[in-house]
């Protein structure tokens, strides 16, 4: 497995979705390649950073309208 091949398999690797033979070759490559080890670390870091992003929101008008609709929604 080359570095160029490995970088395309990182998500499948992180999901545990590689077949056993490919996973073995992935891990063997990773063990001897600092560049790919860094790359995989950076993909993990990217996932973590994406998880930190504040969700966007609706426009204030839509938000206010929905809060009002919720407040006045007829409930028994």
């Amino acid at each position: 497995m080359t570095c160029a091949e490995l970088v395309e398999l990182v998500t499948a690797f992180l999901e545990g979705a590689l077949d056993p033979d490919t996973e073995r070759r992935f891990i063997e490559h990773l063990a001897i390649c600092d560049g790919c080890e860094t790359y995989v670390d950076q993909m993990r870091r990217t996932v973590a950073e994406v998880g930190q992003v504040e969700p966007e929101s609706l426009s204030d008008e839509t938000r206010d309208r929905l809060l009002e609709a919720f407040r006045t929604f007829p409930r028994e």
Binding site: T2, V7, Q42, E49, P55
Partner: protein
Amino acid sequence: MGVVLPTDDVLVDGLRAGDEEMFACLLNGWSGSMVRLARSFVSTAASAEEVVQDTWLAVFQGIERFEGRSSLQTWVYRILINIARKRGSAEQRTVPWASLVPDRDPTVDSSRFRGPHDQYPGGWLAFPERWPSTEGEVLANEVRATVAAAIQSLPIRQQVVLTLRDIDGQTADDVCALLDISTANQRVLLHRARAAVRSRLERYFAATGVES
């Protein structure tokens, strides 16, 4: 994950009872994902907002009938997709998610690797630089802004899958079921999205010149 919400039981009771504070939390927590999801079916941002609004109105109507066979979030997102699909087909915009042919271009530029005639074809020409930790608050905020901008610039389907997986924390199976796409397509979209955000972060760290 952006916002920590109570369990589904608490959320459902709150929605039924009219708990305004809890509904505001839900709006904050889910609206971003819902807008992105809606945007993948309809043609304008305004239209996507209306889809989200109509979805919540449908949720108020339907919450009495929610039986908890899926998570509340999945249930709400399914309602949204139904509403968005109808509107998208009225706007003649809907591209079925399932029929997408995944883009086969490499996610890391081939100029980063050695050519076919090199002694080590496909090996890194230069290893990626290690990134600094972002413990400082200023740096952490900049990184977050960089990531947010990177997500915004992704193709919409990649944005949706990345948001559902890595911000909302849904499982691959949930996302496939929700969007009616194959496991392989889901993974390709997720991988391309993550790789693009990584690449943006790499450029950001290279430009700031912070040493690890």
